[in-house]
């Protein structure tokens, strides 16, 4: 059985936290440049220019891309033939988050209790989703989620006989309702099928598919295109100041479901889609 020490995991989490907070990936920069050039109004072009300039300043001057350095959500896919040595896994991951948020001057945004709301001062605990998979490797993904866009999340249980057209319409309505609040152009994660909780989780996992990736199934690829086209007729545009691109990209993750149910969950991510992965 292969062994991995938690020191290695902590180092990887720390590096990913630094990168995701300061560096916008090249494929995202490419996407932004393309959206900017397709915008027709001066306001929208200028807004996209500011977002592009923000990425440059963040990287060069080591200033976080956004003051909301997020709730850290860590996804671990762990091979069943891998043994973790050192600390308990959750402790190692949280230690890495705590140390990184202090070391890199990142904002601590986590409160201990949802109703009594005292800031823990460490940005921990983080969210941690673990999944046992085949093999002896570990796939580690760090995702930073801001509160403003997370607040616009939604879940709707459709009838199994409802047409996809109704789903498209209601997703469009939810995004228009959110309007400028979640900082468009959005990356829109959609979880379809499974149970209610699975659909919500899939709406997040969908966002981590790869910025320029395409859905492997042409049916869903078509649905993603339709959703994007429909929403981008709204005129909301970059940061809601008016323009074409309210949505930059749509990602669907579907799952088998019950004969009686059709859950659809949406998770909006602001223009700053911050995640990174390592295979250990």
């Amino acid at each position: 059985m292969r062994e991995i020490h938690t020191d290695t995991i902590e180092t990887a989490v720390r590096d990913l936290i630094y990168e995701t907070n300061h560096v916008f990936p090249p494929e995202a920069a490419e996407l932004f440049a393309s959206l900017r050039n397709q915008e027709s109004s001066e306001t929208a072009k200028e807004t996209m220019d500011v977002l592009i300039e923000n990425c440059r300043i963040a990287k060069d001057r080591e200033i976080p891309l956004c003051q909301d350095c997020g709730m850290v959500i860590v996804f671990i896919e762990m091979g069943q033939d891998l043994h973790v040595a050192g600390k308990p896994l959750d402790e190692a991951v949280n230690d890495a988050v705590r140390n990184s948020y202090e070391k890199f001057y990142l904002r601590k945004s986590i409160v201990r209790d949802p109703l009594r709301r005292t800031n823990t001062g460490t940005n921990t605990p983080c969210g941690l989703h673990t999944e046992i998979v085949r093999g002896e490797r570990m796939r580690l993904t760090v995702y930073l989620k801001g509160g403003g866009s997370e607040n616009m999340s939604a879940l709707r249980m459709f009838r199994p006989t409802d047409p996809p057209e109704l789903i498209i319409q209601q997703i469009t309505e939810a995004v228009i309702q959110a309007g400028p609040n979640p900082c468009p152009p959005l990356f829109l994660g959609i979880g379809i099928g499974g149970s209610a909780d699975q659909a919500m989780l899939n709406s997040k996992k969908a966002l981590l598919r790869g910025i320029l990736s395409e859905h492997p199934d042409p049916y869903y690829r078509g649905l993603e295109d339709q959703i994007m086209q429909r929403i981008n007729r709204s005129g909301i545009g970059p940061l809601g100041f008016g323009g074409t691109f309210t949505v930059a990209r749509v990602y669907i993750k579907e799952a088998p479901t019950h004969i009686a149910t059709l859950p659809v969950a949406i998770n909006m991510n602001c223009h700053s889609l911050r995640f990174g992965s390592r295979t250990l």
Partner: protein
């Protein structure tokens, strides 16, 4: 940038009335940060009939919770947070003479009506551009509620801080003008 209107805080009645939804503005002068918890604290002071830790008359609040400054820097990342969460507190700050608010996202109908009544303006700035905006902040210090960490009140001096008028004193709303569907 040539079409930008340059204004300086504190804002006069005349300045505020001269602004229209959609106007692009460069703001300079002193502003104060305040987000959810700071508003809650101000509300507590209001209920006790106590003074605020700063004079709010004619001033501008910035809804932000900056990231910590690296050594030798003025401030960390400092973009706007979503404004509707401060709607329950707008009547309190407007009745004390506040003239402007900076944030991102839509305001509720009550806030929009109050802005008209009290003749104050809601400005939007670039959400998620905290690194970019931090370069327009020339000084920053915590002046109240330090224990709230990023939610403390900072007094900030800004220079040519880029804004767009979202809600003006006449009921105009930029977001409503741009959304077609």
């Amino acid at each position: 940038m040539s079409d930008r209107i340059r204004i300086i805080t504190p804002l006069s009645e005349e300045t505020v009335r001269g602004l229209r939804a959609g106007d692009r503005v460069l703001l300079s002068g002193t502003i104060y940060s305040a987000r959810d918890r700071a508003h809650q604290r101000l509300q507590e002071l209001e209920e006790r009939g106590s003074d605020f830790p700063f004079n709010i008359k004619g001033e501008v609040l910035y809804y932000t919770g900056p990231s910590p400054a690296r050594p030798g820097r003025i401030i960390g990342s400092a973009g706007p947070t979503t404004s509707y969460r401060m709607d329950p507190f707008t009547s309190m700050v407007l009745s004390r003479g506040l003239k402007g608010m900076i944030g991102k996202g839509r305001r509720g109908p009550d806030t929009r009506e109050m802005l008209r009544q009290w003749r104050a303006v809601y400005f939007g700035t670039y959400g998620g551009a905290g690194a970019y905006l931090s370069e327009r902040i020339v000084s920053a210090q915590v002046i109240a509620f330090e224990e709230l960490g990023p939610e403390a009140v900072f007094r900030m001096e800004i220079k040519d801080f880029p804004l767009i008028v979202i809600n003006d004193t006449f009921g105009g709303d930029l977001y409503e003008q741009t959304t077609v569907e």
